[in-house]
Each structure stands twice: as structure tokens, then as C-alpha cells.
């Protein structure tokens, strides 16, 4: 195999390996449905996507302690604005600080400004459906949820958007518009 072929195929194989590794992580992860809130910005490079965040407000969280004690007191050990390692334990349904122990399924992230951030924030959608989906996600009656695939090391990948208990692609657009 000559030098040209080798140099041309190295990046192709690297891309292929990366894609397969992402696919393997998502396929082998634990499926988890969590409530979301979202809005719809536009990214010129990445195409149309919903910017969604899992709504961890409903879950008990150690992150909130930072916010509650903030007031006029200065928190000496950790500043409110600083990132702190945290994780969401799906078994207990709780956000805790530090590293996970005795938790089978967890999502790694950090606490900042009194909230838990898990690094999941994009879900790509068809451009034509974006206005309807944006309204549908904002409407609590649709019970919007994000289906995640969670790897054993705590990384979460969004795999589907669930509305009214079903994947959004299974719903007719009119149903979304009427509910939205």
C-alpha cells in the first residue's frame, strides 16, 4: 500500500473508529427518561436543534444548598459561581456533590449557580418541525421528556424526545400544533 493511500485512509479510519465508539457507547448505555425544559436557538454550523436541558429542579439536590446559603454570607469553602463536581443518581433520584459511590446508574456533571449541569443540551430536529416542537416542549401538558442513554462512566447521550409518552416522530405534526 503506497504512502498516498496510507495518508488518505488514516483520517477516514479515525473517523470511522470515532463513530463506532460513539455508537457503541450509546447502544450499550442504560436508557433513562428525564423531564426537560428547552428553547430553540439556531446554530449555523450545526443545523437546527432544540437546546434542551433536563429539568433537575424536581429532584432533591445538594446544589441548592449553595444557593440557599448564599445571601450576604460568603461561602468560604466554595464560591457560588465556581463549578463543583456532582452527579445525578438515577437509582435514588437525587443530585449529590462529589463522586458517585454505590450508585448503579448515574450522570456526571457539575453544580454551578445552584443548579446541576449534565452537559446534555442539544437535540437535533427537523427544521420544519422546530416551531411546533419548541412550543410542544414548553407545554407541560405534553409531559416532555428526553430519553438518554447513560454509559457506565456517567456520560449521557440524548437519543429521543418523548412527548405524550411517545417518541416525537410518531406524533403527527397537527397533534403537536394543537397541543402547542
Amino acid at each position: 500500500m503506497n504512502k498516498t493511500k496510507i495518508l488518505l485512509f488514516i483520517p477516514v479510519f479515525v473517523l470511522l473508529g470515532w463513530t463506532l465508539s460513539v455508537q457503541a457507547m450509546i447502544s450499550g448505555g442504560t436508557k433513562l427518561d428525564l423531564p426537560v425544559r428547552g428553547y430553540d436557538p439556531r446554530d449555523i454550523l450545526a443545523g437546527h436543534y432544540l437546546s434542551v436541558e433536563v429539568d433537575y429542579v424536581a429532584f432533591p439536590s445538594d446544589c441548592k444548598k449553595d444557593k440557599e446559603t448564599k445571601g450576604r454570607e460568603r461561602v468560604k469553602d466554595r464560591e457560588y459561581w465556581q463549578k463543583q463536581d456532582a452527579f445525578f443518581c438515577a437509582d435514588e433520584g437525587r443530585v449529590s456533590l462529589g463522586t458517585p459511590e454505590n450508585c448503579q446508574v448515574f450522570i456526571k456533571g457539575y453544580c454551578q449557580y445552584g443548579r446541576f449541569h449534565d452537559g446534555v443540551s442539544r437535540f437535533y430536529i427537523p427544521e420544519k418541525m422546530s416551531p411546533a416542537l419548541e412550543r410542544a416542549v414548553r407545554n407541560k401538558d405534553n409531559n416532555p421528556m428526553l430519553r438518554l442513554s447513560v454509559t457506565p462512566d456517567g456520560r449521557a447521550f440524548p437519543t429521543d424526545l418523548i412527548l405524550q409518552g411517545r417518541p416525537f416522530k410518531e406524533l403527527p405534526v397537527q397533534a403537536l400544533l394543537s397541543r402547542g
Binding site: 503506497n2 504512502k3 498516498t4 493511500k5 495518508l7 488518505l8 485512509f9 488514516i10 483520517p11 477516514v12 479515525v14 473517523l15 470511522l16 470515532w18 463513530t19 460513539v22 455508537q23 450509546i26 454550523l45 450545526a46 443545523g47 436543534y49 452537559g119 446534555v120 443540551s121 442539544r122 437535540f123 437535533y124 427537523p126 447521550f157 440524548p158 437519543t159
Partner: protein, 371 residues
């Protein structure tokens, strides 16, 4: 073809080439396969139309296409390109380079596609760094400097956008405002050092161009050192750094065998001028003279090294800098008729001065080459 025949006839009449050579040149040009012929133009239009049609169908049905088909199609395209390019590498080098460029674009598309299909969120700089890693091997397959320029531009921007890059920029900003002159000298010193590197032109040329450009930019920002109060430790630190850099550069110039005595002297003179203006206290309003003197010294160095193109570029930059200073001082004159005439006369005077200086330097350099 008529144009080459005419030119060749004129050369033969002037005695530059013989009549036989003229005929051989015309015959050679006639036998060359033209890149653009009626057939290739029609072929290109047809292929372009098909490609647009495929792109339109794919994009309008994008979300109906299963993810596996999208990924399969993308990798089929990549593998197809990787297989086809080696075949045309020797026969059609220009088409090969165009294919390499398209392959680099395909890498961008592939990264975006995988990110879209798997809903990956990542910082933009990571995507560009990943692309830089993928495209790097392709740089060894071409000699076109343009590829190196594109790759280095993307790579440097990605690194500067990273957390490490942000730290570096913060560091530069803290020290830059106390000494843009130091960064100007450092950039130009690195430009000279890289000019001594004969290999890896693909990587060296863009870096050289970048250092040359930043050297001039920092020079024109030298009045910014007078904005704000700078802590003494920083001022002392930068002065020490400058002395060390200047000493190192002067030593390198002295040791390097590739420079003639005149060339070494010209570089030492520029270093000396930088040191002079770095160490003596200048006021904000007089820093312009240091810029002008340094620009003139750059022109002198360029002519010493027989880089006429660079000397002309620098002369143009100097002329614009003079004009800029003139209009800063006398800009209000442009509102009057006499002011416009006066400004026009100044511009003509500068142009005449540049013409004379250019002719003088050329004569001087020709005289040196005969020695």
C-alpha cells in the same frame, strides 16, 4: 494561441530566441491538452447539475433518511475519495489537489453529521482541533502552500479558543499593553529565523506570513503602551525579556552562515533601533517617529536581502502610515478646497519620494551584486 504566436514572433525578431525555437514553442503549446475545452465545460455543467439535484433531494428529505444510510453514504464518499485520489495523483496533479481540498471539506461535514445524528454537544474549538488532526496527514501529499495556510489558520484559531489559549491570550494582553514593541520585535525575529528554514515550506510559509503580519500589527499598536499604568514588576520583566531576546537574536544572526556580512549588519541595525526605542522613554505623540524609522529600516533590510516584493509591500505600508499620520494632524484641511490641493500635493510628493528611493535602492543593490 494567437497571443503566444505573436509573443514568440516578437521575441524572435528581437533576437531573444531563434526562429527554430519559436516554432518549437508554438508547436509545444498547440499540442498541450487544454484544461478548459468545450467538452470539459459541458461535462462540468452536467456533473454540477447532477450534484445540485442530488444535494437538493437529500436535503429536502434529510430527516426521512435513516441515520444508518446517512452515515453509510458519508463513509462511502470518504472511502471513494480515498480510493480515487491515488489513481489521479500523478496524471492530474491539479485535480488531485482539488480532490484533497474537497476531502478536507468532507471531514468537516463528517464531524458535523456524526454530531447531528448522535446529538453530541461539544465546544467548537474541539471540533476544529479534531479536524486539524484529521487533515494533518493530507498535508504531506501536496506542496501547495495554500493548504498549509488554511490548516495553520484553523489550528491556531482552535488552540487560541481553547482554555489553554484563553490563558495565553490573557497573559499576552497583560504584557502586551506594557510592551507591544517587544512583541513586534519577537514576531519579526521569528520571521527572520523561519526564513532560514528551507524545508517544510508548507508549514513554514504560513507561520512566516503570520509572524510578519503580527510584527507589523504590534508595531502600529505601540502607542497603546502609554494607556494605563503598568506595574513596575511587569515593566522590569518585559525589559529583561527583551534584552534576552535581542541578545539571542543578534547571536543567532552572527552565527548563521547563510547571511552575508551586509545582511547581518542590516539585521543588527534593526535590532539596535528596536532596543533604542524600547529603552528610551518616548511620549505617546512621538512614538510615530519610532514606527516610521523602523518601517524604513525594514525596507532597507528587505533590499539588502534582495526581496524586492517585500520591500515594495513595506514601502506601501510606510506610505499609508505617513498618510494616516498626516490626516490625523491635518484632517480638518480636507473640508476646504485649498486643503484638498495641499493634501494632493503631499500625496504626490510622497509618491515621488518613494519612486526615487526605490530607484536608488535598486541601483545600490545592483552595484553590490556586481561587487
Amino acid at each position: 494561441m494567437p497571443s503566444i504566436s505573436r509573443k514568440v514572433s516578437v521575441w524572435a525578431e528581437q533576437g531573444l530566441i531563434s526562429r527554430q525555437q519559436a516554432d518549437e514553442i508554438v508547436a509545444f503549446e498547440q499540442n498541450k491538452k487544454p484544461f478548459l475545452s468545450l467538452f470539459t465545460v459541458i461535462l462540468f455543467l452536467g456533473m454540477f447539475s447532477i450534484a445540485c439535484g442530488i444535494a437538493a433531494i437529500v436535503s429536502s428529505n434529510w430527516y426521512s433518511i435513516p441515520d444508518a444510510v446517512k452515515l453509510g453514504g458519508m463513509f462511502a464518499l470518504l472511502i471513494g475519495a480515498g480510493s480515487a485520489l491515488p489513481v489521479i495523483e500523478k496524471k492530474h496533479p491539479v485535480v488531485f489537489d482539488a480532490g484533497l481540498f474537497l476531502l478536507m471539506l468532507l471531514f468537516f461535514a463528517a464531524i458535523g453529521l456524526v454530531g447531528q445524528i448522535y446529538h453530541l454537544k461539544s465546544d467548537t474549538y474541539k471540533a476544529f482541533l479534531f479536524w486539524s488532526g484529521l487533515a494533518f496527514p493530507l498535508l504531506f501529499l501536496t506542496k501547495r502552500v495554500l493548504f498549509g495556510c488554511i490548516w495553520e489558520f484553523v489550528f491556531v484559531c482552535a488552540v487560541l479558543a481553547s482554555p489553554l489559549g484563553e490563558e495565553f491570550l490573557r497573559f499576552v494582553k497583560n504584557y502586551f499593553f506594557s510592551s507591544p514593541l517587544y512583541f513586534s520585535f519577537l514576531s519579526l525575529a521569528l520571521f527572520v529565523v523561519l526564513s532560514c528554514v528551507q524545508k517544510a515550506e508548507l508549514f513554514v510559509f504560513p507561520a512566516k506570513a503570520g509572524f510578519f503580519f503580527t510584527g507589523l500589527v504590534f508595531l502600529f499598536c505601540s502607542r497603546l503602551r502609554f494607556s494605563g499604568v503598568h506595574p513596575l514588576p511587569i515593566v522590569f520583566y518585559v525589559k529583561t525579556l527583551f534584552l534576552l531576546t535581542a541578545t539571542g537574536f543578534a547571536t543567532f544572526v552572527g552565527q548563521y552562515d547563510g547571511f552575508s556580512r551586509r545582511e547581518k549588519q542590516s539585521l543588527w541595525i534593526v535590532t539596535g533601533i528596536y532596543a533604542l526605542f524600547f529603552l528610551i522613554p518616548l511620549a505617546k505623540d512621538t512614538v510615530y517617529f519610532s514606527e516610521l524609522l523602523l518601517l524604513i529600516s525594514f525596507i532597507f533590510v528587505a533590499y539588502t536581502f534582495r526581496c524586492e516584493k517585500m520591500a515594495r509591500v513595506l514601502a506601501l505600508v510606510t506610505a499609508f502610515r505617513i498618510l494616516n499620520a498626516f490626516f490625523e494632524l491635518f484632517g480638518s484641511l480636507l473640508y476646504t478646497g485649498f486643503g484638498l490641493i495641499f493634501s494632493g500635493l503631499i500625496i504626490l510628493g510622497i509618491a515621488y519620494g518613494c519612486y526615487k528611493a526605490d530607484a536608488y535602492l535598486k541601483r545600490t543593490m545592483e552595484g553590490q551584486s556586481h561587487e
